[in-house]
Symmetry: D2
Subunit: 274 residues, 4 copies
């Protein structure tokens, strides 16, 4: 065996769980079916001859619930999906015949945290703060990091700290911080494979406006073919000052679906600049 | 930056997707709610003012459907869960208050493939083949690999090659290959964190017998506290001759659930013995 | 044929639909799984060789959603269901082995409307109005009607007029009118087969109190074995001044369930006192 | 009170329950989401301060499951629904904007049982028996009954006696008895409001053919606007020799759905010819 066995390299690494726990009543977009997990069989319902018993459950959920990733099929513009596919012919009772979440190859690679909250010296950005391209640039400069084509960029807003406070988290009244159209453009130009953030929608939501239009989704999913991960839990990663890390992100292969809940992991080795 | 950045180590690695695709009608145990994904909104249902449109879905599934991992709460013996927890008091409308799948820390570490099919020189073991401790030992000797405490062992039966043939895969008539009670004992004694296999249940199922008793589940989940991953897709990994690899396995954090679908990845670097 | 054929008697009858329409987002108790109906197949997804196509849907609902009836198994007191059944042994993964909604024989018989709103000369009772036994008595006197053993009594509050205004209908802030414990006692003493009302819960809910205790459910379901129908639409019936009518109430035979949505009908013949 | 109060007329009537009990695993068409009812809260999960406890459930079902009625929106021909509505524009995430099951006015009226099994002197017609117009005519003649415009006709095949034997009931191998295209034509010409039968599909299904085309659905639902009720339980009614009765059929008002489970009742007074 060589010294470069990946499990040796990663031994001693710290693994950050970037997913929010999934439970009934957690914040989610009202546009998607609400999450519900309930036990079907409980222990004691049916006891095997040897005294054993098995419990199980049913899970009802949307694909865009909890920490999740958007498939390219999620959004269309003027009737077209990314790469010009006619949305109407791609969708059916079986879901999408193209660009469903099963087409996303699990990501195992470098990712960068663009921590805009840290840039402003606050734990959480104010609601309705619009993230600009200049702010994203500034986070890179400050941390001496770079974005590379085909890789991942996560934007830190601190918003995941509001998770236990659903009205604030969903931001119906006061809005939600996120990248505006200009920052979306900047991200699209970077040739990334995926981007992610801590809010329900990877967008700037002004106070009281709701999700009337979603320009960043359009720019990234439809035009640039960049996947979007939402409702991530980035607070601990940000707190540790991590800026560069190994991201492993493997959504469920829900054939034909427009998205999937996912449990992304950030793997940070002691050698890391952090 | 140092040469040991994990993304550098893994650059050039081959990533094997160890999950079966999830679609309506796939083989699954009749004991669990059937998987169903269907679109709710389709493109064109609701077009935003800028010509954009978003599609979404509902997913209905059991926690033990597709490639999935069993939580320790899944099985009880004589009314007790692992570590003696009274099953009756731990279960409620909110699921399990202890030993639910959210308590499983995502696994990022070394795993070994004990390929029993390869040991016998066949692509797939015959239905109802009972895997013995001696066979598991023999796979380690043949590949000069070892199992280590706290790590993962996957058993290769080739059974995932039957995925497209549901009657064969479920094995109602002819049975399913898997570890018998003695092999379960051998595995339990290894101090592993998790084990996995290609069949619906990580058990030896004799022809025509069904899942009357599940001794390996009892030994591993209840007594030893070892998690079990089922319905994995190991054929490509086995075909590549991989015996040792980095396994990343991060189930959805379904709070209180007895299991979760999961998308495990095997990361194999060019340096690997394979 | 005789002159008494029921279809002849009923010809010319007016049929009042006593059910609220079921749609996503309708008012319902937060204690129950939310209603959701979505199309699975749409026309055009799969076209048969002759040009035909069939659409269908999935419905996800609680048993106590929309206009619905409570089975006796719905409520227990000190661990006992009606008639002393041990609740713990009657419930399992298959639902209830006793007193599930399938045990309710469909009702085809006389019913009386006790219109308390009319008694007070208002279209809708104020939120948090507690209905008393004296008020129920007074409605009978005023309309010269009587209650008979084994029959049905519906209480008019006018509350169904708030259906399109979910916050008012659910009454989280201001409460909901309904029978208090004393009126429940009065109803229980009448030997009725079933009672019904227009609100989510057939109870008096004081402002800001929520459903902390449900004394009328206890008295009727557990002790007296009287079924309760909730969320009925009685406004048109009340407006027509009907006090006595033929009620047909046939819930879905959901074996083992604690309740079922239902579409009750009031059949009013021209001969009726109304 | 007059002697014609409907509850007096119906007092002493026998009420036949024409619905099959709904439970997991019951026979249903594989084209529709499978029925599943499971408890969410059980007694004891949450005990109120006064010792009370409430249990509830979630129900997951298709609209064409168990005894159910087809809405006119269920079937289209060449892209058109009944009355020429463009199917594509009527369907959306909210279901159908026209011809959904909520548009069906509950039926309270005369119905006739055309008992073809009795005509042949058998309890159950053989699988794959095609019912002809002549047979339907003959049942009317034999029982001296007539069909009237706007009313209901149910066809007796005896098939509901196979309910407990799912493979026979679904008829995948040997087919299912039912009206052929010619009988469908004859029914359509009668100007009925609804028709019903005991099988999964109100069609003649030849052995081994499945539901390749559904000519009777087309003729009745799309062209004639006649509703179809399926999977009815008619055996007891047939056994009692009833030919004419009061039918009450009130599906759930599932707004926008293509069908609904229903609990139809046949009310037979002692005066009836039976």
């Amino acid at each position: 065996m060589t010294p470069h066995q990946p499990w040796d390299v990663l031994s001693g690494a710290r693994v950050f769980d970037l997913a929010q726990p999934m439970r009934r009543g957690m914040p989610q977009s009202p546009n998607h079916p609400p999450y519900r997990m309930l036990l079907e069989r409980r222990h004691g319902d049916l006891i095997r001859s040897d005294g054993g018993s098995a419990a199980n459950e049913v899970v009802i959920t949307g694909g865009h619930v909890g920490t999740h990733i958007d498939a390219l099929a999620h959004v269309s513009q003027d009737g077209r999906l990314h790469d010009g596919t006619d949305a109407a012919t791609a969708q059916s009772a079986a879901g999408f015949s193209r660009l469903g979440i099963e087409e996303f190859t699990p990501y195992v690679g470098r990712a960068v945290l663009l921590d805009v909250a840290r840039l402003h010296g606050v734990p959480v950005l104010p609601p309705a703060h619009e993230i600009t391209a200049a702010e994203l640039e500034a986070t890179l400069e400050e941390t001496r990091t770079d974005l590379r084509r085909g890789e991942a960029a996560l934007i830190g807003t601190g918003w995941s700290r509001h998770w236990e406070d659903p009205p604030t988290f969903t931001g119906d009244r006061h809005g939600v911080p996120g990248p505006g159209a200009e920052a979306g453009e900047w991200l699209a130009a970077r040739g990334l494979r995926l981007v992610g953030g801590e809010t329900l929608a990877f967008e700037h939501i002004p106070a009281g406006r709701g999700h009337a239009v979603l320009p960043v989704h359009r720019r990234l999913l439809v035009e640039a073919g960049v996947h979007i991960v939402e409702t991530m839990r980035l607070a601990a990663l940000a707190e540790a000052g991590v800026t560069e890390f190994l991201l492993v992100l493997a959504p469920l292969p829900l054939v034909g679906a427009t998205g999937s809940p996912v449990r992304p992991l950030a793997v940070v080795t002691p050698d890391d600049p952090a």
